[in-house]
Symmetry: C2
Subunit: 215 residues, 2 copies
Amino acid sequence: MSKSDHISMSVIRRLPRYYRFLSELYEQKIDRISSTKLAQIMNITASQVRQDLNCFGGFGHQGYGYSVSQLKDEIKNILGLNNDYKAILIGSGNLGKAVAMHMNFEKLGFELIACFDSNEEKVGTKLNNISVKHENELEEFCRQNRVDTAFLCIPRVCVENMLDKLYSLGIKNYWNFSHYDINARYSDAVVENVHLSDNLMTLCYRINNSNQTNI
Amino acid sequence: MSKSDHISMSVIRRLPRYYRFLSELYEQKIDRISSTKLAQIMNITASQVRQDLNCFGGFGHQGYGYSVSQLKDEIKNILGLNNDYKAILIGSGNLGKAVAMHMNFEKLGFELIACFDSNEEKVGTKLNNISVKHENELEEFCRQNRVDTAFLCIPRVCVENMLDKLYSLGIKNYWNFSHYDINARYSDAVVENVHLSDNLMTLCYRINNSNQTNI
DNA sequence: TAGATTGTTAATCGATTAACAATC
DNA sequence: TAGATTGTTAATCGATTAACAATC
């Protein structure tokens, strides 16, 4: 139901943030908010708020502002958080375990239905209510179950082989924690990267340059 | 030694990616590369490569290209990865543990020197060679040791109190995994956020909209 | 020298901000 | 009605891309 068919990534990446702030306002039992006030809280401009929201339709009421609960729900729908995309986790190391245990998938549009590891010792262990399977069961599992997405929490050196297998099994969507460029190999894959090292290097740069005394 | 004093965040956030690709080329024993070839590998334009690198100085050689090892080292220096910023981890839950165990801090300009948790049961356990201390030892610790950065891996509800304490102890740099807006409270803090939920919501949106059949 | 490729300026593109008429 | 605030168009700003003279 979007007004225009192309929404820029800049806008899309701001949506979860709107959703977060609106959820907070909702918890605080605040009914309505103007673009000006919302912008203040979020430390952006009111213009941007209105411009962003109007990519998807006129959710506001002139002279009144926006209904918090309505707007929150609209954004929830736009993001598609009511979905139930079936996800499998590849790699049950520290990071994979943390991802499986820490995230509230059902509130984010996903359901984690299986976890795979190449390490025999991990097979059979449990992450929440998901038991870890051996990687050689992957093919069979994907044929028996619809799998929409793979969460990649394996070392960089293992990614290429694993990616080829997953892609050949029809998986096109990836939440990627590995330092590997999935889109360079499969340009039609939908990929969100979490590059923790990149992020920390950026912090390092910024710390360096925040200490600068202007001569 | 930068040519201009203001480097845009767009450029800064690309630096770790350059560093990653150059490190790979270096491992492959490739000596030199042109902006055109590097751009191809990284799936960006040659103009952008040259424009980005020239923010920091002329590292290239006309008619030749760039020396891989030199350029890699230059970017390493620009990012400041030779630093040894002292970091403490707040929160040793699943996520905190994964962060402590998974990251190669010394290659990223940091050293993890302590971890704190509010849970008595975790106190005394070990993450790699760091032992977990109780949060009430935090103040004393910060007075005895230089602490440059805090890695925040605690639930959203705990962040505000903890942040006030850390800030009052002089910590201005944060790697933030919590859904809390640190800069809204302390505008001079240097913050890099890792918002896993936001990232997964974005993936959800994109999966939704990649399935669209154009009518 | 001729060929290759940079550094840098100019042109284009897209995103953000400002302004204001429409309207509740 | 008057006041408030949106939706939307126009102006500005910044980032990306193209072009090319400089030079190895």
